[in-house]
């Protein structure tokens, strides 16, 4: 699975969960807060994306993530680790 495919999963969940993202372009440089996502919506996006990607990332690592780029880096690492 490529980085773009992982990002597509995250973006689909942002569009599905965070109302403020509707009609807006989502970039790696964004944060979910840019679309007025509340903390619970952000956790839902992360949880649903991990489920769909079939990865598990420890909560402690998730807490340190900054922005979508950080989340994508973490998920990409977990996807690569899973396939090895």
């Amino acid at each position: 699975m490529t980085r773009d495919e992982i990002f597509a999963v995250i973006k689909a969940n942002i569009y599905g969960i965070i109302a403020g993202a509707e009609g807006k372009e989502i970039l790696e440089t964004n944060s979910m807060r840019d679309f007025a996502g509340d903390s619970l919506e952000i956790v839902e996006v992360v949880s649903r994306s991990m489920k769909q990607l079939r990865i598990k990332v420890p909560r402690t690592e998730l807490l340190e993530v900054q922005g979508l780029k950080g989340l994508l880096d973490l998920f990409e690492k977990a996807v690569v680790a899973k396939t090895q």
Binding site: S39, L40, V43, S47, M50, R59, L63
Partner: protein, 176 residues
């Protein structure tokens, strides 16, 4: 009833509407956990703790059965409603949430998760009124959902289903 919910949740709700989720013979008379053990896991306290005892606790199978004596609810029943006491549906949902939370926390075990935070009530249906006179039984199942878990359960009186509900909770404290 048609439910617009995940298939696994619907499967349990469909069963829960019709009959107890665990047969009577599996729900023993003795409590699997005593009050001290229950209070060590759940932060709720009387008069808002709706788990007096646990008659079934199957961590592998993901199912719990609890009991609550409605004799403790006289103040609530006096006002809901005068001359027509009915234990509130909102409290039935809470009782199912407490049973599901207890099961989940017991499954997770300390120090993995010590708190859960109710985040969403997916559905609830009130089929029969819960009336004073007979203790309430709550049976709940728990489904893992990533950073969340879903509890699906029922309230019973005299083996009859009074209500069913499903809710999602965050594993851990929402503020951390």
């Amino acid at each position: 009833m048609k439910w617009d919910l995940p298939e696994e949740v619907v499967g349990i709700l469909d069963l829960a509407e019709k009959a107890p989720l665990a047969p009577r013979e599996k729900r023993g008379a003795a409590s699997v956990l005593d009050r001290k053990e229950i209070e060590a896991i759940l932060p709720h306290r009387a008069p808002f703790l709706f788990v007096d005892c646990v008659s079934l606790l199957d961590l592998q199978g993901g199912i719990i059965a609890t009991r609550y004596a409605l004799s403790q609810a006289s103040a609530v029943l006096a006002g809901h409603f005068p001359n027509h006491p009915v234990w509130p549906g909102t409290l039935q949902v809470e009782a199912i949430a407490q049973a599901g939370g207890l099961l989940y926390l017991k499954q997770a075990g300390p120090p993995a998760v010590q708190r859960v935070t109710l985040t969403r009530i997916l559905t609830a249906r009130f089929i029969r009124p819960v009336l004073p006179g007979t203790d309430l039984e709550i049976i709940a199942r728990v489904l893992d959902d990533g950073l969340f878990f879903t509890a699906v359960g029922q309230c019973l009186q005299d083996e009859l289903v009074c209500s069913v509900a499903a809710m999602t909770s965050l594993k851990g404290d929402a503020n951390k």
